[in-house]
Symmetry: D2
């Protein structure tokens, strides 16, 4: 295949597919989330995150997971801070502004896809609090793993959280690739989330072996009181909720989610290691999750394309490419990819 | 089982489950709807509706199908007319107002869940057009089958459409149970939709054997130009779109959707016929689709509940109950239900 | 003149004009409402309403007074109940839905422009509270004087308030013609508002001698916490707030507002008395404020139009007309109007 | 007085006050903008801007002028570009996002309050057009005079317009201090607006001698079709519209607006000239309109405050202060201000 376009082009893990088949073949179930799978998912997440009080809600896309969770953190006249490359800023067609009734997005730049702490602290220390003219600082969103494939450490998150909470804001994590980040971080899910100061997160499964489901997890439960209404009026409350819950249930069973992410990350490291050895290529950021951003010489790119390898220029026109591995990427694909690239080098 | 609570509590048809399993086991596919299944669904719908120009978009709930399709028909200062019992009016947590940025819902009453044509004509003839103070009449939405389990005939739809189009409004159909309505109407899908004057519809599959998917179908293609943006910013564009498309593809294959609806309707007729024979019960509306609204004597209700039958009071506290059949309702369930009810009568 | 089209076509009372001239000729003042006039207006309203805790905010139109005050009473997934003829329902271009991010308007009919208490009680007793699908009942809005020129008594308001508060909703009053209503009711402002159970009101001045200003008055102060942000993001916080405050200050000075309304009402009664004596005319509702709705024979209407009288058909095409008096209507105008009408009768 | 806090703290010019008094003393007038003054204002603006096709609408604040005009330029999924210091970005409580139903604001930095052309061109050349995930570039807004008191030349505007229009976007000007900018630019109003490429502008009067009114002016008339509905549902259509129109009418009569701005600018230059001579002070930007941003030594600031001078730190805590002159600033005030400051220097 040699398809490195995106982890969202992958299929789904067999055990998740089978769970879904079983669940829908087993007759009727209460609708709108009052079924056993939905309850079990919340329970499983409470165990995984070592937090018996968290509230969790399955949703069908990462975009709405982000928009709904942040809508619970900010008024319409609020400001939400994020890295300028964040998915909520550039890839979600203003879903955040839609669900928040018009909150402002404020970019805080920083290297390798991470918010710079000093810039954030400066932005949050502006004398705008309670002044009716100014958008009111309400929430900060970090992406884990970042849009550069790097991973915030618990210590980094903790420092951001301290800055965020000092001013009374909420800290959100877009964890579309949380499993991949966790696999790199070498800590517990709790340590990479609420123990580090995350108040609410989008917990991704779609990119890591599910058919299509993410979850919103509230560690600060007071934030979740309006979630059900917001979700419903967004058209995101499924009558046959098991479509989503069953996926998450299987995803969390027997640490499947961790195994999937571990594999994807290992494939990325394998691929990066090979690329690094090639003359003329340059890997742009530390490969900590399952994404590689690499400068490829034009002949290498041409040869790879000709051989059927698939990946996106990122951004277009600059000779930089993004390669994404997934739960079902095979070593053979990578070996073939590297062999093609090495062949160019050796011509 | 004797579960007549709702057709959204049913499982899914095996052939749809199998199609989904196959699709996700077959490796990677382009994301965001650029896959083969999504294209094929639109093509199948063009064939089913005998209309090569329609545009179709899979979505995960009927609520968002309604909200997104109507958002393409009205400005924020517009008015949307519907029956006071319509799902968009009372069961969708203001999703319509959310997606339209605040359009006004205007109830038009009428017997048996259908909009009264004269009342509609009077409402649409008010001298408000172009007057900036007044909500601007923009769209009418009818529900097929209605919330009373009745079915608009093509002639009835045509008369409404004529009134609607004369004033320049658009006509929307909430077809959450379109298959059930079609099975009763004894005409073609085209005759029950665009040939009768429907401009855009929500095409339900969730309640008729799918795992969870509906579609928005634009017959007036000019309305669809902004759909993709509206869908995305609502968080409703799935990266792994096959989750939805594959279901619709299987649903439309070999007329499965028609067979499912035919069965559900037959079960409803069977149940209604038995109920009608019982003393003290009264079926409130013609049973034309898969819903029955029935007055049950208290002892009958008590005995059915005790025997494990499940159904909702509709509305609560008035001795009226709703019974819904589905694609997987069995004659045995109905026979047992009726036997219990008859047993009370004969005591 | 014989202009009975609307009290919003009148000029302004000289003492309000003079106050504005003085205020703007007196040099600089703090902006955004931190000036002395704005503070004094709130203080005057606290005295007028015998309520030292009320919070008051001047705004430039009645439409935004209604929209902003109700936006403080309902979530986006809420329902607001009002008479089907209410200004918020039919004359404000969905401003309510805009400012509430999409609340639903539910009509509660009743004779003579007043909400029928039984219908309201029935609507509010539906089992929808806390059920995520249904718009959540949040507020009721009554119009004082009504769109039929009638006036709710304190007893009537009290009964509505009791029903409203029992269910935990808020009661809003659109008091665009509150002064006219008060002049009829023969009670204190407090008795016609918070003592009867009003939580928040739009207090009109524009139609009663001001150049253009109304106020939002919160009796339930907890509702007002977000008002300033909502007002500002609506573009309704004037930097030179004295434009509005000074008008209200003069309006409330020496009971000018009461005198203006008393005069307008007296003129309406005078006109209605004359019309009642004419054959073929029929006054439709009790004339309790400054509006008359009257059936005029076509020859009478023709003669009046020919003589230069100005008034609106209400609604068009039915032989019914609305006549509105104002603070500056003169007895001579009315006498001339009646003389023309009587002349037709005596031909 | 020595009040240099803001030009929005000034009173109003006597001839505008008198015009308002006359207009409201002259009896009734058609409501909702169908009066003679409103029509005349549009006509006057057509003359002033040498453009018989422009459409103009009076509104009560600059905030809503900006929000409404930009709402006519962008869909909810659009992106609006402006300088990070722009009023729409930091001083309007997300009014832009509110009126656009959630458009994204994108900061484009540049020196002295002006958008940097190269950065803008780069931002607008991103490959996001027609890609559903990305906010769609829709409009650029420049502020004239800028938030640093500098003025875009017609040439600078033309270059921006060329970049903006090449990509199909619209160019908006926040002209809250357009008169002051014009007075500096030494060209015609047309040359500083539509001839340079402005499609729609907010035309300020509040800060330059009015009681409180700005206008939205559409040079691209196709943009204005929805304005009336948007304005009304925002609660910004005054029934007694003459409150706003009369002010603009007088403001534009006999070039009053130009004289007022010329005076304010002259006062600013006078003040800046004096400040520049003082040791330890530093004027930060070219003083081209009526605002001065100056570093003041602490003793100077202390002495000025003690002497009753009023002005804002800008931003707080950095020793920088903003001084704003207005149409009614007197040379005596400035001389006294400078005398106090010089007195400190000479101690």
């Amino acid at each position: 295949m040699m398809n490195f376009r995106s982890d969202n082009e992958a299929g789904a893990h067999p055990s998740i597919i089978e769970a879904l088949s079983r669940a829908y073949g087993s007759g009727s179930a209460k609708s709108f989330g009052e079924d056993a799978w939905t309850r079990r998912v919340e329970h499983r997440l409470q165990e995984v995150f070592d937090n018996p009080n968290l509230a969790a809600f399955p949703v069908v896309t990462g975009t709405v997971a982000n928009a709904l969770s942040l809508a619970c953190c900010t008024p319409a006249w609020g400001a939400v801070y994020c890295h300028p490359t964040a998915h909520i800023a550039v890839d979600e067609a203003n879903a955040l502004q839609f669900y928040t009734s018009g909150a402002k997005l404020c970019p805080i730049d920083g290297p390798a896809g991470k918010i710079d702490l000093d810039r954030l602290a400066e932005a949050l220390s502006q004398p705008v609090y309670g002044v009716v003219h100014h958008p009111q600082p309400a929430a900060v969103s970090i992406t884990q793993a970042t849009e550069c494939g790097t991973v915030y450490t618990p210590t980094e998150i903790g420092a951001i959280a301290e800055t965020v909470h000092r001013q009374g804001l909420k800290l959100h994590m877009d964890g579309a690739r949380f499993a991949n980040a966790l696999s790199c971080a070498g800590c517990t899910p709790a340590e990479l989330s609420w123990k580090a100061g995350i108040d609410v997160m989008s917990f991704g499964a779609t990119k890591n072996g599910a058919l299509g489901v993410d979850a919103v997890i509230f560690f600060d439960n007071a934030l979740s009181t309006e979630f059900a209404y917001r979700c419903k009026r967004g058209g995101h409350l499924l009558s046959k909720m098991r479509l989503l819950s069953v996926q998450l249930d299987a995803y969390l069973t027997n640490d499947l989610w961790l195994a999937n992410a571990r594999h994807a990350n290992a494939m990325a490291r394998h691929l990066a290691a090979g690329l690094t050895k090639l003359a003329g290529t340059r890997v742009l950021y530390p490969v900590e999750a399952n994404e590689i951003f690499v400068v490829l010489p034009a002949p290498t790119n041409d040869a790879l394309q000709a051989a059927g390898a698939a990946y996106h220029p990122w951004p277009p026109g600059e000779g930089v490419y993004r390669l994404v591995t997934a739960f079902d990427t095979t070593p053979a694909e990578i070996d073939r990819f590297l062999a093609v690239a090495e062949g160019v080098e050796n011509r």
